[in-house]
Symmetry: C2
Subunit: 162 residues, 2 copies
Amino acid sequence: MVSKTVVTAFQSAGHDHQRCLEDALAYAAETCARRGVRLTRLREQVLRLVWGNHEPVKAYDLLESLRRDHEGAAPPTVYRALDFLLKEGLIHRIESLNAYIGCGDPSSPHTGQFLICRKCNSVAELNDPEIGELIASKTKQIGFKMDHQTIELSGICPKCSG
Amino acid sequence: MVSKTVVTAFQSAGHDHQRCLEDALAYAAETCARRGVRLTRLREQVLRLVWGNHEPVKAYDLLESLRRDHEGAAPPTVYRALDFLLKEGLIHRIESLNAYIGCGDPSSPHTGQFLICRKCNSVAELNDPEIGELIASKTKQIGFKMDHQTIELSGICPKCSG
DNA sequence: CAATTAATGTAATGTTATAACATCGACCCA
DNA sequence: TGGGTCGATGTTATAACATTACATTAATTG
């Protein structure tokens, strides 16, 4: 498997998403097993829905999808699963969109930098250490003890800008 | 007036907030006049409330305050004023908190980097060009045409960790 | 297999934000 | 100066996002 630490997406035309999805699910299962946490049917199904494509997904859209084969799903059903997946680093929340997206590299805990295309809505996860480190050093300089970065960049992706 | 381009807040003990507030309001009035846009009573009052302190303020808290001397204020009353102030760069929205904060340097349009103290809730606006430029160059490298940065850093401020 | 804890079900409600249409008021200009 | 225009605000309703609280079920452990 090619390293995903630099950039996940934007996807090329030949992207085999079925494969991408199955890889992510397998990886999640393995990760949870290793950590001794339970990737239940419900949680796996939510993860699968989040990974449906490379666009951020909204909680209530997930809820609607989920209801197709899980009658009786309610907001807490979805939010609990999302909380679990967030905690395990299997998905990220995009604050500026109130939406969720699959994590391109759940191997180690991290906070990515998200590139959001406002034309096609796709999101790429950049995980550039230089950016993270520059910010860490600048904030440290002024005595701020940073523990979390939220970096969301909106614009036009390579595919959409031709 | 000392340049505010590097960092606004965290406020020291001797911070004269009355003065800080009046400066910001005067600056806003001047800016709007220059641009030919109307800083109406309502908009100014909302700006004053946002500048009440150096913590982000929630829209419905503003609404409640506003109602004290503006009976009949409703959500659109507040959100319209916030939209105006955001557009004119007089305030910023903190995405990760769904809250609003006065802009430390409305002179030129910009997107700051926000340092959010999760202990005292104060927010400092860092406006470090190196960070902005590094991100701009990295994203450009991969063909992304960035037009907006959201950078929100949470942690413990110097005062709280001191 | 009983006890315990984690996960899920269920109903209600809290919080954040916008839509749609009516009215008011500032400004322009003939 | 009075009427037209457009931006601002009033008002009602509802959409969109998220959590609380408590009941029930399922997995895990001693």
